[in-house]
Symmetry: C2
Subunit: 392 residues, 2 copies
Amino acid sequence: MPTSTPTPPTTRTNLDDVRLARAYLLRVAEPPAPHLTGFVTRHGPIAAAERIQADDVPDQVRAETTARRDVDRAEQDMATAAAIGATLLIPEDEAWPAWAFAALDLARARGANWAGQPLAVWARGTADLAISTDEAVAVVGARAATAYGEHIAAEFAHALATAGMTVVSGAAYGVDGAAHRGALAAGGPTVAVLGCGIDVPYPAGHSALLGSIAKSGLIISEYPPGTPPARHRFLVRNRLIAALAAGTLVVEAGRRSGSRNTAATAAALGRVVMAVPGPVTSAMSLGCHELIRSGDAHLVSSVADVIESVGRLGADLATVPPQALRETDGLSDQALRVHEALNRKSGQSVEQIAIKSGIPIERVRATLPGLELTAHAERCETGWRRRSPQPT
Amino acid sequence: MPTSTPTPPTTRTNLDDVRLARAYLLRVAEPPAPHLTGFVTRHGPIAAAERIQADDVPDQVRAETTARRDVDRAEQDMATAAAIGATLLIPEDEAWPAWAFAALDLARARGANWAGQPLAVWARGTADLAISTDEAVAVVGARAATAYGEHIAAEFAHALATAGMTVVSGAAYGVDGAAHRGALAAGGPTVAVLGCGIDVPYPAGHSALLGSIAKSGLIISEYPPGTPPARHRFLVRNRLIAALAAGTLVVEAGRRSGSRNTAATAAALGRVVMAVPGPVTSAMSLGCHELIRSGDAHLVSSVADVIESVGRLGADLATVPPQALRETDGLSDQALRVHEALNRKSGQSVEQIAIKSGIPIERVRATLPGLELTAHAERCETGWRRRSPQPT
């Protein structure tokens, strides 16, 4: 179960309130709800929830939330989740994969309304989402996979897990299931992202598999407990799979395949897209071959190829042109708050920043190197100070 | 059998002498013999042969020819060839694939000593080499092909032949043989390029196949009759396969494969290189996957893909930077002679150019559009005049 940093009682209480607010917000609009997401970013989850309930919101936010405004089942959802060992993971938690999800905000800042971070995710399992997705590869593919596809998915996932990488997938039949199983067989953590409620046993034949994943890995979903699976939810869910992994590997895909949606999403997020070739006589390899031929995916024929391709991620990210964005686009709420606490002229200690921002000292310490990486902060003799990314 | 343009008796006699001289030259040095090739280009085949026999040659040419200088079996070779229905096809013949082979001279001009046109080729069969390679695809691959590889080679070759393209290959076991058979099954012409004498039944199990190829297509070799097959000859031969085709398709290839040599040669000649993917579990697809992954080959999974890829050739050739070359590099002997007959200032009629160059009028007419394409000649009100390619 994800745990949050030990913090003083007042902060703990505040975190519980934040968690309840976010549970409410997750149910009040169907993701992705870009205006709601922006509204929460600007006002914080507690104020945002209160204003929605009071109908004190801009029209665009109202359009997204009005239908479910009065449905406050946050405590009930928490209880339902707790009954199956699940909790609500929120951006304020240490286990929140802030840097993985930052790509979703970057994409939204560039106009991709389908993107944007989830407001929170329901999580069931033992793995820490931030740590386990630090080096992760998404392995996705057709539900109607061939024996070849399932074999490759399991083999690659097993080898990736053995190499210390976390396999992220969607728990579907076919490639997804084989990938999770391969990772589990290697004793590695694996993360399943669902397109339904965390408590919904879907697909029915994967109940035992989902149980195994929860045991050593993690199952997450941004849908409230009880939400039934739906095609559009799988597509929305795909952005989380793509964002959580450094690269997305398509093992088998037909000409029209949900996996290609994940691949396109991964590409839009600046992630590496890879595809495994297969016999050209196999309809289930058509989508992979098209991705490779069009240049949308790297061909990978071994796990060594995957690791080499994913290694290119750093270089890819480094070329994101900062001048196309507002300087704080792409930062999580928490990073924004740390950033705002920095001075431009004089450095401050981590302790000072923690007090000023109200963010626990451990999170401040964890957040600053990332801000340095994106040129939002820099070290100086007296500690840390604010820096603005320079147009290049 | 290739035929030459009907020409006046004097020219015919001259052509016979040229043919004998070239038969001598083909035997006097092991191809590729870059210095000999340059020497023949400068002096013409008859004078070149005479000077070699008189030992009146530069040192580098002597080094290439001294061992076999006194071996003049030209007439005997012609007779041996004639006995199996083969003739010597020379650059002075209309059926000489001048534009296809021009890429070999271009590559040589850029320093690739392995390149350079053949001085002539022995040819057995009914197809016209120039016409049949006007739209040709080389289909090559492993001798130890899998059932999948042979199936794909035959299927693709069949479909290419049906689409009016000539399949060029090397008559070896495995992919080569399957490709020839597929083309023959579609009733299309297919061209086999050998790494041994035209009269050498190699590989032994392909005697019947070679007979079928000769019936409707063409078998060619630059090696004199009786020359045994050898590994280095296959590599030298590969440049002809690559040059004759607009694109080279590798169907199956192991990690160290002769097909990858053909692919590299094709790339060096500015040809399109394509590879068919297969199961990543197959060692015979390793080479193809490496070619695709490294960007050295386009992935093709259908004949439509092949035709689309080959269609890119025009654009590729158009980007050859002319300033890197002497202005007449890459021209065949014949094109050079036509080029030299042109005036810079005033146009001449095709008839005038034919008389001045000594090249049959039909060949002049066929050569000029190509010279126009490479900016060596241009049309004007009074006919054709010389033009120099401009550095861009």
